[in-house]
């Protein structure tokens, strides 16, 4: 990803200090961010006390550095951080090429300049939505730093509700209504052919009304194949936390002291 790191040739490092902990330093000179990424020396717990051996402790846990007060450590790492930039070009999700800030002529002062989106005298909200989508996509792939001089203040609620409706709700509504209509027609025909009850009489029957309700709910909730699983997982999720809290009371049902 950030292979451009290799193009910057940092000074060769002194041999790394023999301590198991490391403290890289941000250098003033370069505005570049040099990731430090020592190969996981931090995982060895320097403490001699066996207190972290209990079952739950993960491998990265309790990396408290007992030697942090040692003044020797602060300095030698200053230069060694530079070398790692070339070697550690992998892994980081933070891509830091200098030129990678999001730029767009219509993005001014941390928000979209609506005057530049005019079309026939009114704002072209679709274009605003498109621009924001592109900006978010860019940021998702190249996360950027925030800065106080240049804050982002765009709020999606400035785009009026009918613009959202027209663009997102209406097509989906058309799709779902289409599905509902097809299912409805077919089911009405089926029920009619099986029972002889016509459409108007079906509407008066409780069982048919229930079927209709189930069909509508089904069309609304289950839009893709994955939705079936998602709904099941959601239901389980809503009660999972409660179960975890109640767990301590479960075993009390066997005992005699019921409080």
């Amino acid at each position: 990803m950030s292979i451009s790191m290799a193009s910057f040739s940092p000074p060769p490092p002194p041999p790394p200090p023999p301590f198991s902990s490391v403290r890289p330093q941000f250098t003033h000179s370069s505005s570049l961010f040099l990731p430090f990424k020592r190969p996981f020396l931090l995982q060895s717990t320097p403490k001699s006390l066996p207190d972290n051996g209990a079952g739950v402790s993960p491998s990265v846990a309790a990396i408290e550095d007992p030697k942090q007060k040692d003044p020797l450590l602060r300095n030698p790492v200053e230069d060694s951080a530079g070398s790692n930039g070339a070697a550690m070009s992998m892994a980081s999700a933070a891509e830091v090429e200098v030129l990678s800030k999001f730029e767009d002529p219509r993005w001014i002062g941390g928000t979209w300049d609506l005057k530049q989106f005019q079309k026939d005298g009114t704002t072209n909200w679709d274009a605003v939505i498109d621009a924001e989508v592109r900006r978010r996509k860019w940021l998702q792939d190249n996360p950027e730093t925030t800065s106080n001089d240049d804050p982002v203040v765009f709020d999606t609620s400035i785009i009026p509700w009918w613009a959202w409706m027209k663009r997102f709700h209406l097509p989906e509504a058309e799709l779902l209504n289409g599905r509902a209509a097809m299912i409805g027609f077919f089911m009405a025909y089926l029920v009619d052919s099986l029972t002889g009850v016509g459409l108007v009489d079906q509407m008066g029957n409780f069982f048919c009304k229930t079927l209709l309700f189930v069909a509508v709910v089904g069309v609304l909730l289950i839009r893709k194949n994955e939705d079936l699983d998602n709904i099941k997982k959601l239901i389980e999720e809503t009660t999972f936390y409660d179960k975890q809290w109640q767990a301590t009371w479960q075993d009390d049902n066997n005992g005699s002291g019921n409080s």
């Binding site: 209990a54 993960p58 990396i63 550095d65 999700a93 498109d130 730093t145 389980e236 936390y241 002291g257």
Partner: protein
């Protein structure tokens, strides 16, 4: 995880000669000043010629608060802490109510945070804190200072503070037998190795944190935990001015898939960190991303310390067994969404100790599991709404980037800010104005819908 088998309870209950305990204690609910009506279990035998002995394992906020309350209640208290100057890796934020409830001196608080900035995945930044009144703040403390203060106060009230490492404990064979605790005492004479000692007590409070040994001893079960990774960075003074009383929260998939990244100001440096439950092996990557997002603001900083610790995600399956109770992180009392644990640790320690003091009639009678269960009952009843609301918030708003965008958008609303701070600072889920709640619900749904719609378009761009 959904089906947990529990061992049947045998051997720790009293013999069948005595009827099952039905203490007629009445408690007044928790207010800052708690009054007891102590009419303890009639069937508990009176302790002859000694007071009740209770050991508190772990000397953090939970242990310190528990030991103080026990000692004040006239119980012979032993507080066992393995490292008296322990500088715990911790966010260090305490709510306003803790200062009042625990009578903390104001000089313990290094900084008063009165502003927070929430930053969305697309770097939309929202300032929150305008609704705070002048006397309201979030206190940032150094854990070593707070822990030491609470422990010393416990000692002043009569608790015996022992510098030792708890190893294991022998369960009592019959109801009247004491617990035998084995620990290594560091008394300076034996050097770093310490000497093995034992201690007999009647009840144990396990306040020894996320990797609790007491919990293991009573087979309390495991919990899911998050890893919080934090770097302390000393930044130049002009940049530190920005963080004078401001804390930042960064949300986004790059920063954490199920938690948030933060920059918290400490006494003279900032703590930059992040956490995760589901992707623990990528924590370094998330930390880099967090640093990147804050890059401009911490430029020129020097990392002075790197630390990590586990954060429980939910309580252990069993928080109580016989006369052993768990409190604080050992029990798993960390809230979701914000990951707050200090206040709840101290409060649970105090509540548990109060239950023991009451059940034993200030140390005169032997306690019983039923007395300790009262602490659990009270705790669950008082704080369950808080935990549940935060759980729902986490499930809804930390799911995905669109949800996080919506979250940050919602935080710009004044009503939301007021409700959030009221419930955080005073630890009550305050019922709001129903009309405003409705508006809030509508706005939330609107934000979620918009953000999800944008995300769908983003995916379409890819394809």
């Amino acid at each position: 995880m959904t089906s947990i088998a529990f061992k049947p309870f045998t051997g720790l209950r009293r013999s069948s000669v005595l009827p099952c305990p039905n203490p007629t204690t009445t408690t007044t609910l928790s207010k800052p000043v708690v009054k007891f009506h102590v009419s303890a279990a009639r069937t508990s035998p009176k302790l002859s010629n000694r007071n009740l002995r209770v050991a508190v394992i772990g000397g953090g906020p939970a242990g310190g608060a528990a030991a103080e309350t026990l000692a004040k209640g006239g119980i012979e208290t032993f507080l066992i802490e393995r490292k008296l100057d322990n500088c715990k890796p911790c966010g260090g934020a305490i709510p306003l109510c803790m200062v009042g409830e625990f009578d903390l001196p104001l000089d313990i608080i290094d900084r008063r945070v009165t502003k927070m900035k929430m930053i969305s995945p697309s770097n939309i930044a929202v300032d929150i804190g305008q609704t705070l009144k002048p006397h309201e703040y979030i206190g940032m403390v150094r854990r070593e200072v707070l822990d030491a203060y609470l422990r010393d106060r416990a000692k002043d009230n009569g608790a015996n503070v022992i510098n030792g490492l708890f190893l294991k404990m022998d369960m009592p064979k019959s109801w009247d037998d004491p617990f035998v605790l084995h620990y290594t005492e560091y008394d300076g004479k034996q050097g770093a190795v310490g000497s093995k000692s034992t201690l007999e007590v009647d009840a144990v409070i396990g306040a020894d944190g996320a990797n609790s040994r007491v919990a293991k001893a009573i087979n309390a079960g495991d919990y899911d935990y998050a890893i919080a990774f934090q770097e302390r960075i000393k930044i130049p003074d002009d940049k530190m001015v920005y963080y004078e009383n401001l804390a930042e929260m960064y949300v986004g998939d790059d920063v954490s898939p199920d938690f948030y990244g933060w920059v918290f100001p400490k006494c003279d440096h900032v703590a930059v960190g992040t956490g995760t439950v589901t992707h623990k092996s990528d924590i370094k990557k998330f930390q880099l991303a967090t640093r990147n997002r804050a890059k401009d603001k911490i430029l020129g900083g020097k990392i002075i310390r790197v630390e990590a610790h586990p954060i429980p995600e939910h309580p252990r399956p069993r928080r109580l067994s016989g006369r052993v109770a768990l409190v604080g992180d050992a029990a798993g009392y960390v809230t979701k969404c914000s990951g707050e644990g200090i206040y709840f640790a101290a409060k649970s320690g105090r509540m548990c100790a109060e239950a023991i003091v009451e059940g034993s009639q200030n140390g005169k009678k032997m306690v019983d599991e039923g007395d300790l269960r009262k602490y659990l009952e009270k705790w669950d009843k008082t704080y369950w709404p808080t935990y549940k609301v935060l759980d729902v918030l986490q499930k809804v708003f930390y799911r995905s980037n669109p949800a996080r965008e919506a979250f940050v958008e919602m935080c710009a609303d004044e009503y939301v800010q007021k409700m959030t701070f009221d419930s955080y600072l005073y630890k009550t889920v305050a019922p709001g104005n129903p009309l405003e709640d409705l508006k809030l619900a509508v706005n939330t749904i609107g934000s979620l819908v918009r953000a999800n719609a944008l995300r769908k378009e983003m995916e379409r761009l890819n394809v």
